[in-house]
Amino acid sequence: MGESLTLSCGSAPSPVDSGLMSEAVSRLNVSVEGSVVAVEGDVDAHTCPDLIAALEPLPGSGDVRVDVSAVGFMDSSGLRALIGAHQNAEAAGRRLVVARPSSAVLRLIEISGLSDHLHVESVD
């Protein structure tokens, strides 16, 4: 049975924000089961450390599948996390696969010219 690990990143609003219900802090949930890293939420400079931490050990064996179907937003911070893990995987003779990419992730990868560099699973 694979190891299961859940990382959560997000801070509660500070007291001064209590009246501003529309304010939202970046929230990211990363869970690992076997060699599948499931990412849910927003990946930005604030939240990406949790993604980096989950990818760093290259969990499981064989392809590391990063399921980003539930990623509503990602910017270049998240891209750097993926690229770093991609390079680590290659060095270890494995692959990092960006699985079930959401439209936000696809757009980011395409606009960054990385569609042919990262292993991006096509959306069915």
Partner: protein
């Protein structure tokens, strides 16, 4: 002026101009993104434009936090006929501003700048009243 993170103080006589400001903290950038997407949607922007503006704002805001000593991230979002204009205050040290000096080489380095320039149709550094800001324009429709 207190840092209460108050948002969306419309200023001036320009129609549809939104001034957004949050403390310069990485954890606050999400609220800035959400506000930008709210504004863009309210003004009828297509999903793809909303996504693009949000991404650019995230990159620019991150840059302010990581590469300047500004205590606030301030931006102006303006919907003009046929285009969106985004201006982000660089908030550098005004006293040492030298109009002849090159821009901070670390500013918007790497992928962040590439993404902004790939998405926006025009990106220029503008000096106004002793401070610098970045003006980005996306043509729509």
């Amino acid at each position: 002026m207190g840092h209460t993170g108050h948002m969306d103080r419309s200023v001036g006589g320009l129609t549809g101009e939104h001034v957004l400001s949050v403390p310069a903290d990485l954890s606050r950038i999400a609220s800035l993104r959400n506000r930008v997407s709210d504004v863009a949607r309210a003004e009828g922007a297509e999903d793809s434009v909303v996504g693009d503006l949000t991404l650019v704002v995230s990159e620019l805001a991150t840059n302010v936090v990581q590469h300047s000593d500004a205590s606030q991230i301030s931006l102006v979002l303006r919907h003009e006929p046929g285009r969106w204009v985004l201006e982000v205050d660089d908030a550098g040290d005004e006293d040492t501003l030298d109009p002849d000096s090159p821009p901070d080489p670390e500013a918007l380095s790497g992928r962040g700048l590439f993404i902004v320039q790939a998405i926006m149709d025009e990106v220029e550094s503008v000096e106004r009243g002793g401070s610098r800001f970045l003006r980005c324009i996306k043509l729509v429709g």
